[in-house]
């Protein structure tokens, strides 16, 4: 599986790493739902650290799409919510 850390690049993750990531991901979602920004930040930071330490970085020129994307760990709660809203956080592609 390929994991993208948004703003950092892509990593190949084995099943063990993915398992850990999914556990943390559930906690991240719960924190986001509860509006608990410190918890969300710390869980996302942990996910980033884990992927960087245990994942295998893909070369820049690799063209594979990612299976999952981890949002940036330095987003505010508001930005995270906006990322998933209709309004979006990613600017529209140029026409």
């Amino acid at each position: 599986m390929i994991v993208r850390l948004m703003g950092e690049g892509q990593f190949r993750a084995d099943d063990e790493l993915l398992g850990k990531l999914h556990e943390l991901d559930d906690r991240a979602q719960a924190a986001a739902d509860a509006g608990d920004e410190p918890e969300l930040d710390s869980v996302l930071d942990e996910m980033w650290r884990l992927v960087q330490a245990e994942g295998e970085r893909l070369p820049d020129e690799d063209l594979h799409p990612s299976d999952v994307v981890v949002p940036p760990s330095d987003l505010t709660l508001e930005e995270t919510q906006q990322l998933f809203s209709d309004q979006g956080l990613i600017p529209d592609p140029p026409g």
């Binding site: 994991v3 993208r4 948004m6 703003g7 950092e8 690049g9 990531l21 999914h22 991901d25 559930d26 991240a28 979602q29 986001a32 996302l44 070369p59 820049d60 020129e61 690799d62 063209l63 594979h64 799409p65 990612s66 299976d67 999952v68 994307v69 981890v70 949002p71 940036p72 930005e79 995270t80 990322l83 998933f84 979006g88 956080l89 990613i90 600017p91 529209d92 592609p93 140029p94 026409g95």
Partner: protein, 242 residues
Amino acid sequence: MAGLMSRTSAVVKAWISKLLDRAEDPSVTLDYSYEKQLQMLQNVKRGVADVVTAKKRLELQTSKLETELPKLDDQARKAIAAGREDLARAALERKAFAQQQLQGLDQQVTGLEAQQEKLIANEKRLSAKIEAFRSQKEVIKAQYSAAEAQTRIGEAATGIGEEMADTGLAIQRAQDKTEQMQARAAAVDELVEIGALEDFTTGETSLDRELAQISTQSQVDDELAKLKGELAAGGEKKEIEQ
């Protein structure tokens, strides 16, 4: 319950399909889509360059503001000379606040520097992927049937689209941050500038007005005394001449 990772992937995928919808059918217009990618890379490069410029400007602005802080000391000194300790205190309070804001800005500029390095790495990755696409499209054109080619191109385009979404977001966030910092620097600038005596005509605060009044008052007193002196001297001279 979908986690954050799959929701983020879905957001990115939706963005990419919006991007691909705008492009021509990639299987028949390989060269065209490569041209389009190059155009977008140019936009990204411009965006990164804008952030770099804005950061430099902010650095200049904060260091210029630091050199202007002594204006507030002058103001405090003038106020004390005029026997107005309350105004002197207000000027020094303003200086302390401006200093604090400037320190915060310095830290943010350092943060922006890290963000800028990431942006440059982002741009490099995007550039490497587009270059890889350029060579792959030739291979794909030569080796695959139209249907196979379409699948492979679709995948490659998604890979590139992902990097574009990623870079686009990074640029957007850096720009937002720079704008916030510019607004903060402008507020400090106003604080220091309006605090200065020579701006009393535009200054809105009572501190400025009061200090300006004191200053005007003493200038008027000085000039009055000077005029009186001149008149008195002139009168004496006339008497001597007569």
